[in-house]
């Protein structure tokens, strides 16, 4: 199998030089935390993939329904690390509802359920992960962050 097209430039770049792998808050294992720089409340959630032990902690800074900033920490394979960084790029500046839609779309794409290229264009660089659908064992790595974000945002919605 030509798997190298998964470990493509985009993925390798985001894995080696992630833009969003840092902390927004001080503590990071509770649901909300305070950003020491600005005093903003930060949303925090941990995602875990038991099969490979990947763990990411996702942090969001949301103001007026808009994701102002996103960051992550944690250990994992190149696919989950890159996928998380790519996701952060994509959702910063988006409205909550838009972000939820994008995560739904991404999850459909990597499960091979959505193949319409035009629709997928919205995912921008995340399209680089399309072929993971052919590697079901790795799909969990790719979706970990997106699942976590999806749940996080839905929890916020219902909490409101």
């Amino acid at each position: 199998m030509a798997l190298n097209n998964i470990y493509n430039e985009i993925l390798m770049e985001h894995n080696t030089h992630p833009d969003h792998k840092h902390k927004l808050s001080v503590s990071s294992d509770c649901k909300t935390a305070i950003n020491p720089n600005c005093g903003d409340e930060v949303l925090v959630k941990k995602g875990i993939n038991p099969s490979c032990g990947d763990e990411i902690v996702l942090e969001l800074n949301i103001e007026d329904d808009i994701i102002k900033d996103a960051a992550f920490n944690g250990q994992g394979c190149a696919i989950s690390q890159a996928s998380t960084d790519i996701m952060a790029d994509l959702i910063i500046g988006k409205k909550i509802d838009e972000a939820v839609e994008l995560t739904d779309l991404f999850i459909k794409m990597v499960r091979g359920e959505e193949k319409d290229e035009e629709k997928l264009e919205q995912l921008d660089e995340a399209m680089a992960l399309k072929d993971i659908a052919h590697m079901p064992a790795r799909v969990k790595c790719a979706v970990l962050a997106w699942h976590t974000l999806n749940e996080m945002l839905k929890e916020k919605k219902t909490a409101e």
Binding site: L3, Y7, T16, A78
Partner: protein
């Protein structure tokens, strides 16, 4: 293609594949595949209770296989061989049934931190059910349980010791005979997980003097769905049955039942005769190759792989530095690259290895790595397979480094 690969249709089908995941499951030679098919083409029926020729043939196939297995592992009697689905089920039977027979509150079960989950979880459950204590042995840096470690952990309360003969991560073979002697001197009954040992070494359960021995067919060239529990007759006789149902009874009335003699007491329902036939053919196959050849090739290929990999400064190998002691099992990590990425990129180079926790999470934590890659070798592998593994390792490292 080397002469041994030629026995395996899957190797003829994927000529470029370096299959190095033999510890997970072996490939199957023509002899085994054909034996199973022939059984279904000429001898299939429900065995044991049938009074017609075909059923007698199925019974013979089933019982002759049992006899061959008994001889293969040096069991004293045929009825000490119980068919199961796999090593996991064998270990569950011991953990349920022997615990029911032996354990009281505060008794101790002794296992090692190297155990495969299948020789760990059943004991966790047994300990819970009987309010017993699960105590752990820890290996030395070569993956061996020392005599001292065992002596330190044995107590008057230690009723059962269950130990893997060969770790599926470290590849080290325990000095079982000595360990068992010490346990027996302490009146501790010993169950052995032989799932990884039996493909690599001649087993003699009487020489070992173990009380139970569990293994799977699918790791030793037999089909999936067939495994074995060997147990000393005296214990099996006393133990309560585990699964109940057809074929394992003498008398049944509405509220009670008496159970059949050994081995049938532990074999409920229609058994996997095709699987038993396959296992018997796998034994024939292994004997036709010869353990001499198997051991020689696996030792040499394991040493070659270990030595070549250890030349790469970014590779860490777990276990004994003498790679001839690894029985072809080489667990390693490439610095900075997750084993799942390594395995995926090995695959794209036609090298099949495993990456993960290898069903041994506590061991992984003990080794402080959580995850690792594992190449596991069978005698049908060759230097070319190992060379591919090494080259691919180098490629993966440079691919990740190049991206930096």
């Amino acid at each position: 293609m080397n002469q041994y690969k030629n026995f395996f249709p899957i190797m003829r089908h994927y000529k470029d594949l370096a299959y190095l995941d033999n510890a997970a499951t072996s490939q199957k030679p023509d002899m085994v595949i054909d034996a199973v098919a022939d059984y279904y083409k000429q001898e299939n029926a429900n065995p044991l209770r049938g009074l017609y020729e075909l059923s007698q043939k199925a019974t013979d196939a089933y019982e002759n296989a049992r006899k061959k297995i008994a001889e293969f592992i040096g069991a004293a009697k045929q009825q000490e061989i119980i068919y199961t689905r796999n090593a996991s089920e064998s270990l569950n039977i011991v953990a349920y049934s022997l615990s029911d027979l032996l354990l009281s509150k505060d008794d101790e079960i002794l296992i090692s931190v190297m155990e495969h989950h299948s020789n760990m979880l059943p004991w966790q459950q047994a300990a819970k059910r009987h309010q017993a204590k699960l105590v752990y042995l820890y290996p030395d840096k070569n993956g061996l349980i020392t005599i001292d470690e065992l002596k330190n952990k044995l107590s008057a309360k230690t009723k059962i010791l269950s130990l893997t003969q060969l770790s599926n991560v470290l590849g080290a073979e325990q000095n079982l005979k000595e360990l068992i002697k010490i346990a027996h001197a302490n009146k501790t009954i010993v169950s052995v997980d032989g799932a990884q040992a039996i493909p690599h070494n001649k087993i003699d359960v009487q020489a070992l003097d173990c009380d139970f021995y569990s293994f799977s067919g699918h790791k030793m060239y037999a089909p999936m769905g067939i495994g074995v529990l060997y147990g000393k007759e005296k214990y099996l006789e006393e133990m309560p049955p585990f699964l109940t149902g057809g074929e394992m009874i003498d008398y049944v009335d509405e509220q009670s039942a008496t159970f059949a003699e050994l081995p049938y007491k532990f074999e409920a329902g229609t058994q996997n005769v095709g699987g038993a036939v396959g296992l018997s053919a796998a034994i024939d196959f292994m004997e036709s190759i010869g353990y001499d050849t198997i051991i020689k090739r696996e030792t040499e290929l394991g040493r070659f792989a270990g030595e070549e990999l250890s030349k790469l400064p970014y590779v860490t190998i777990y276990g004994d530095n003498d790679f001839s002691q690894h029985h072809g099992v080489i667990a390693f990590n490439i610095e900075g690259i997750h084993p799942h990425d390594v395995a995926s990129l090995m695959d794209s180079g036609n090298v099949a290895i495993r990456g993960g926790h290898h069903c041994a999470q506590p061991l992984m934590r003990y080794l402080k790595c959580n995850f690792c890659c594992r190449a596991s070798i069978a005698f049908y592998n060759d230097e070319e397979d190992i060379t591919k593994l090494i080259n691919r390792t180098k490629y993966i490292r440079s691919y990740f480094n190049g991206a930096q």
